[in-house]
């Protein structure tokens, strides 16, 4: 039965994707992207990937829509009508058919004998309780077994944050019209209902973010999800109470410190392992016995991830929201 639900959702997903590409109005595309992300999260959940679904939820519902809208506010929200061109249609259709033809050799969905399930995955599932002793195998692999990967990904996020800062940091021209966040510098302050409810929810969102951060060893969660959730909470605060208040609460300097500090914390844990006589990112030597060391290492590394993700997403949001539109 659940398979059928999955098939239904996947069909909706395809329809939504066509709608996104077809829409002339970019605002409509962005709204449909929101629906797309909700469907993806539900599908990930049905496919037994709770951690991934939580990530998609945290990123797609709060941060992505707001970022896209603030970018649209700075550019245009209407696409010029283009003539349908036949070469791309033909190329794309032919490739689709070829890829579909290729799938006939793939093992069916959920086949336990598929090659992917034979190689390293059983080892991880078998040895995580013995070597690391946290229930959530995804967190164990993310932070410990494949710590190098995650370090790399973290530095991609770090670099993207630095890139946005470089691109958007130049001072805007005097006399330019202030926009998105800066309308009367007030946020939604004269809308009483959103303001009250928004203010009420901000602490709960941040609290839930912290729960996801520190409960990540036992349930779905971890630094990536928590970072996205906490930045969604701060973005909500910026929306209801104005950009200035949010910047007062967490200053840009502090945010930049978070971006760099998180990455440094991650690398620092790795180097600490080396100094204590292990390998880079080997947490076993951090404490008296190796399991306690692993726990400590995972905690610190996830905290580093959370710091960098929160810092980057908020910095990006502030760079977009505080930017003035230049005279055209």
């Amino acid at each position: 039965m659940i398979t059928l639900f999955g098939v239904f959702l996947l069909t909706l997903l395809v329809i939504t994707a066509f709608g996104i590409v077809r829409a002339q109005h970019l605002f409509v595309s962005v709204m449909l992207t929101g629906i797309f992300s909700l469907q993806m999260a539900a599908i990930f959940f049905i496919l037994d990937a709770a951690d991934v679904a939580l990530t998609e939820a945290a990123v797609g519902a709060g941060v992505a829509t707001v970022l896209m809208l603030s970018a649209l506010a700075l550019t245009e929200n209407r696409e010029r009508p283009t003539r349908p061109r036949w070469v791309p249609v033909i190329v794309v259709s032919a490739t689709t058919l070829m890829v579909i033809y290729a799938t006939f050799d793939k093992p069916l969905l959920g086949d336990p004998d598929a090659p992917v399930h034979q190689h390293v995955a059983p080892w991880y599932l078998e040895n995580t309780p013995r070597l690391i002793d946290v229930p959530n195998v995804v967190t164990a692999i993310l932070a410990s077994f494949r710590g190098y990967d995650t370090l790399g990904e973290l530095f991609v996020i770090f670099t993207a944050g630095i890139g946005v800062l470089f691109l958007m940091a130049n001072p805007s021209k005097p006399g330019a019209v202030s926009l998105f966040a800066a309308t009367e510098a007030e946020g939604l302050r004269h809308h009483l209902v959103p303001r009250v409810v928004g203010r009420l929810l901000v602490p709960f969102i941040v609290l839930f973010g912290l729960y996801v951060q520190f409960h990540g060893d036992y349930g779905p969660g971890g630094g990536f999800q928590a970072g996205a959730l906490i930045s969604a909470g701060v973005i909500l605060y910026a929306l209801v109470d104005g950009e200035g208040k949010a910047l007062e609460a967490i200053s840009p300097r502090f945010l930049r410190g978070m971006i760099a500090g998180g990455a440094l914390l991650y690398v620092g844990v790795g180097i600490a392992g080396m100094l204590l006589g292990g390998n880079f990112l080997d947490y076993s030597v951090l404490a008296q016995d190796s399991i306690a060391g692993q726990h400590l290492g995972i905690l610190l590394v996830e905290a580093g991830v959370g710091l960098t993700v929160t810092g980057t997403l908020l910095t990006v949001f502030h760079s977009f929201a505080a930017r003035d539109q230049q005279e055209r």
Binding site: V14, L47, M68, L74, T75, T103, L167
Partner: protein, 118 residues
């Protein structure tokens, strides 16, 4: 019901090419970025479809059920980080589009090309 076992992969193929179509056929830069993120989501779907094990559950080990089957945790780790990296790179792309729009006054590729040729 047997043929539904490949349905996820067909949807993957269609989504992948829908995203590619938006990237290669549309002149609008924001639309291209949205197409890129559809492309990205298609890849996520492919990986997550492969992690499913029939009768399994999410890989959070339950101490009270020693014989429980679990889905494959490895694709989940890869995609989990990729989603957050995806939003970071998307924001970098949007920042570039905003700067282009400030420099040219448009985000349509063909109009920019005309301006460059003048």
């Amino acid at each position: 019901m047997e043929f539904l076992g490949l349905y996820n992969y067909w949807v993957f193929a269609i989504l992948l090419m829908t995203g590619l179509y938006a990237v290669i056929s549309r002149a609008n830069l924001v639309k291209k970025l949205i197409g890129m993120s559809i492309f990205q989501s298609a890849v996520f779907l492919l990986y997550i479809s492969m992690d499913k094990v029939e009768g399994g559950t999410a890989p959070i080990i339950q101490a009270n059920a020693p014989d429980q089957l679990y889905s494959n945790p490895l694709p989940q780790v890869l995609i989990l980080t990729a989603i957050v990296v995806g939003i970071a790179t998307l924001s970098l792309g949007l920042a570039i589009v905003v700067r282009i729009s400030e420099a040219y006054g448009t985000i349509e590729e063909n109009e920019m090309r005309e301006m460059d040729e003048e």
